[in-house]
Symmetry: C2
Subunit: 153 residues, 2 copies
DNA sequence: TAAAACAAGACTATATTAGTCCAGTATTTA
DNA sequence: TAAATACTGGACTAATATAGTCTTGTTTTA
């Protein structure tokens, strides 16, 4: 029951963009080093966020990323969903999947309820909350990447 | 953000034992086939539950497992915690671990709040709730194991 | 039109999951 | 008291997921 590292990184990226004045365009490189997210991983994450309409991407020379929605319209649930897919809790709650005979399982409906509860918690937490504490440009704590070096086979 | 299969199996095992009259002693074999949990995996899971004091184990010929606490004193949180360890949500919430400089991270306290919220949800859901719906001995839906056959290398 | 940036996706090492298997220990009962 | 039965503990494993990197291509600006 943990979010993964990619999601934590994604939160950092969005947080950084939320902190820029007027949704300024910022290069992946800057986000990456400011928030201590491995460079090329950051690109991948920003692409996901971009496709999901949370950030906007701009190609070309003066390109980069900018925030696409007001911070108060971006929730923790949005980020988790974009990165990890719909919050499922248990397999029987994944859309396509069903566990043999889910309708007859006495536990199934309770998992469903729990999921809803968790989703509400995550949806309530929007990014404007973080900005109260953190002025734009403040440094972010590094989180040691597992693999920093390139694969020098 | 999913519980793992072992936890789902653990819930099934506990549920089955809760359904037995007077905390009757039941063999792992019976639990396994009644609840469709792979046999040897069930043993392992029951051992964990036993060490955690949720079920009691009895060795020897008429041995097996029985429920060790009243169903209403066993919660979903208990099971998840026993099987997967303390609910952490993010690395910075694991006891020993800290992410470089967690105290300065603006997101950290919010993860903490979310964790507390999720824990409450899981703690509220106790096993007596399931028994309202399900009379002892009702069959359980199978959940197709990933690996059914023994490793015949 | 060259340089700067993102886009898409193939590729990889390591960790975790989802189990199996076996040698040993405790308990009952013939 | 010695089988037989059932749990205990731990080593072992294949498949999958995680946490990244790298390369090639496309868009935009100066
Ligand atoms: S909760 Fe019930 S329906 Fe869902 S996966 Fe577990 S056994 Fe299947
Ligand atoms: S939330 Fe903050 S402290 Fe926690 S892991 Fe992420 S960056 Fe580190």
């Amino acid at each position: 029951m943990q979010i993964n590292r990619e999601t934590d990184y994604a939160v950092r990226c969005v947080l950084y963009l939320c902190g820029r004045k007027d949704g300024a365009i910022t290069m992946a490189d800057e986000i990456s080093s400011a928030m201590n997210v491995p460079r090329s991983f950051a690109s991948k994450i920003l692409q996901k966020l971009s496709r999901a309409g949370i950030v906007a991407s701009h190609q070309g020379v003066k390109g980069g990323f900018s925030i696409a929605r007001a911070p108060r319209n971006i929730s923790m649930l949005d980020i988790v969903t974009v990165i990890e897919g719909p919050l499922a809790l248990n397999v029987c709650l994944e859309s396509g999947e069903s566990c043999g005979l889910s309708p007859s399982c006495p536990v199934h409906p309770y998992w469903h309820t729990l999921r809803t509860g968790v989703e509400e918690l995550f949806a309530e937490l929007t990014f404007d909350r973080f900005l109260e504490d953190r002025l734009p440009g403040k440094p972010m704590p590094p989180r040691t990447p597992l693999r920093t070096k390139k694969t020098t086979k």
